[in-house]
């Protein structure tokens, strides 16, 4: 397929500007700041439409098929969310609209915070952070501010070795040093290792529950107790909240700060479909540090409160990704109290159903009941077929590849998260495909190693692409050797 630059023909256009009806101005900008001709593609409207329609048909999303990307919760995005977000009163609302004319929008944000508080057991929320990692940074800034407030200097954050890579990145960006805590042979945080690393320099632990191995931290109460006895805080990465919504609450097991991913658990678009949203919840004691401003409900009116002297300040312009908040609000309201619990239950049920089918054929590093996701490895694949080969081969069957080679502590990890939105038929079909690929690895390993064979582009040279990336178009494309 050609690039849009390659179908460009000089003089072709897709727009007609109206005639200039004001006097033309010369020399408005200093000459040395002006650019020459811009090398933009020149194409007709039909060229544009055909080009991007063709691209979109090559795309694969959750609207096309099964997308079991572990730790990403690529659940289906209900279309009713889009209906609400497109209502004129929300879609056309200017962020500087005064309070008295935007009561409905303020109410949505206020109530969404209340729902998140109920679901997570946290005492207050901010909706500002625009991504999960942004929520992590916000959380770390609150940790920093908290210790400044009590005049203690603490520089270290404990992070389990199974954590998402964003955790140590957020910690480092905020000026803390991360210290790794090992996992035990059950796939959980090693409590003894954790205790051995506790001292008065430890500000907090940043943990994920269920963790990235898809396992619930059964010693969570001992962990939060040990941290609190040390005067440290507990941050929970809510990336895997999906497994516990409506069943258990982080606030009840001692979490002080938590971020949730609206684009995972609460069904707003994810990945290229974004933008994201990573609201942060805190305990009462920490609520005065939340980003400014907050929506309040006083005398039957919603108000924007800027008077927060202890706040860490703004972390995002205006109030976060508002359109995404409307979608998450819609999701929670349309599911209702019982529906939300069913989300958690069915995500765990679906994962365990798949695990029970696949563990007869694939090596399972932690053989126990999982939460909403689980891990297999490539150990039982024959003839040198690897996790990477398996992932590519899945594409040939019209399935998105799972997360691979993560978490790093499992060799050849294949991390599968079916989500609650998939039917038994879809799960059965996926299990059959997985078994077929296993069989192929025994009988015709070359097919699996050469995959993908049915996709628009064949196997890519990912080593060359990473070593010598071509990042921009220049007249013609020179493929590095």
């Amino acid at each position: 397929m050609k690039l849009i630059f390659e179908i460009s023909k000089k003089g072709r256009k897709a727009v007609q500007f109206p005639e200039l009806d004001v006097p033309e101005q010369e020399n408005l900008l200093p000459q040395d700041l002006l650019r020459g001709e811009l090398e933009l593609p020149e194409v007709s409207e039909v060229d544009i439409i055909r080009h991007y329609t063709a691209l979109s048909r090559r795309n694969f999303g959750v609207d096309n098929g099964f997308y079991p990307l572990g730790s990403c919760t690529m659940k289906y995005n209900p279309k009713i969310n889009e209906d609400s977000a497109r209502l004129n009163g929300f879609a056309q609302l200017h962020p500087y609209t005064p309070e008295n004319l935007s009561q409905g929008a303020l109410q949505i944000m206020y109530e969404l915070e209340q729902y998140l508080m109920e679901i997570t057991g946290m005492d207050q929320f901010t909706l500002q952070p625009a991504a999960g990692s942004h929520g992590e940074l916000t959380g770390m800034m609150i940790v920093k501010k908290y210790f400044e407030g009590i005049n203690e200097k603490r520089s270290k954050i404990l992070i389990p070795d199974s954590a998402h890579g964003t955790n140590p990145a957020s910690v480092t960006l905020c000026g803390f040093e991360s210290v790794e805590v090992k996992s035990n042979d059950k796939g959980e945080i090693d409590l003894e290792d954790l205790k051995s690393k506790l001292n008065k320099d430890v500000a907090a632990i940043m943990l994920t529950n269920p963790n990235t191995l898809g396992l619930f931290e059964t010693q969570i109460l001992e962990i939060t107790k040990a941290m609190h006895q040390n005067g440290s805080l507990v941050y929970m990465d809510g990336a895997n909240l999906n497994a516990m919504v409506g069943i258990t609450k982080p606030g009840d097991f001692g979490i002080d700060i938590l971020h949730v991913n609206l684009h995972k658990t609460f069904s707003t678009p994810h990945g290229g479909g974004g933008p994201g949203s990573g609201p942060v919840g805190v305990t009462k004691e920490l609520s005065r540090f939340l980003p400014r401003p907050k929506i309040e409900f006083i005398d039957n009116k919603y108000k924007i409160n800027y008077n927060m002297p202890d706040s860490i300040g703004r972390v995002r312009a205006f109030y976060g990704n508002f359109g995404i908040l409307v979608r998450a609000y819609t999701y929670i309201r349309s599911n209702g109290f019982e529906g939300i619990r069913a989300v958690g239950e069915n995500s765990v049920l679906n994962a365990n159903y798949l695990l029970s089918k696949l563990k007869k054929h694939y090596h399972v590093p932690f053989n126990r009941i999982c939460q909403h996701e689980f891990i297999l490895t490539d150990k039982n694949l024959s003839n040198g077929v690897t996790t990477n080969d398996l992932a590519k081969r899945l594409l040939d069957f019209g399935v998105h590849a799972p997360t691979i080679y993560f978490p790093l502590i499992v060799h050849g990890a294949i991390m599968i998260e079916p989500t609650e939105t998939e039917s038994k038929e879809t799960l059965d079909r996926f299990a059959e495909i997985m078994m077929k690929i296993k069989e192929e690895s025994e009988k015709e390993p070359e097919t699996v190693k050469a995959a993908p064979l049915a996709t628009p582009v064949s196997k890519l040279d990912n080593v060359l692409a990473a070593r010598k990336p071509v990042l921009k178009f220049e007249d013609k494309i020179i493929i590095p050797q």
Partner: protein, 133 residues
């Protein structure tokens, strides 16, 4: 069969799979054959800055493969005296020749005794054999 790789006799090793060779007060360091094999194709090395001071077993620099991004830990405390800048163009040197062309940095060493905290080739081999896959 587990890959153990080449383990030269004259080097010392860390549990994080770095090697170090001491020449007078200069330590040449890199990652082991086992490490490069486990990382698979290395695509980028973020070399340390000259003059950077580092403590033993603290992060020194970063190697990136198609699979993951990993810290390289300093096998011994010291100050970065020289880096292998050829790796910016040819990170694959680490895969092809981890103990010679694939060296990463030279450190000016303060305390030779720290070598005693590291494994010799025999112990490193035993350590690798004992690692779970």
């Amino acid at each position: 069969m587990k890959f153990i790789g080449n383990i030269p006799d004259n080097l010392r090793y860390t549990k994080e799979h770095e090697w170090v060779k001491l020449e007078n007060d200069t330590a040449i360091i890199g990652i082991t054959d086992y490490a490069q094999h486990a990382l698979t194709d290395i695509v980028f090395v973020e070399l340390p800055e000259k003059g950077k001071k580092v403590e033993q077993l603290k992060p020194l620099c970063i190697v990136e493969s198609v699979k993951s991004v990993s810290d390289v830990f300093a096998p011994i405390s010291g100050e970065v005296a020289e880096v292998n800048s050829e790796l910016s163009e040819k990170p694959e040197n680490i895969n092809q020749d981890p103990y010679e062309n694939g060296w990463i940095a030279k450190l000016k060493v303060v305390n030779n005794d720290e070598l005693n905290n590291l494994m010799d080739s025999e112990n490193y081999k035993k350590y690798l054999e004992g690692l779970k896959e």
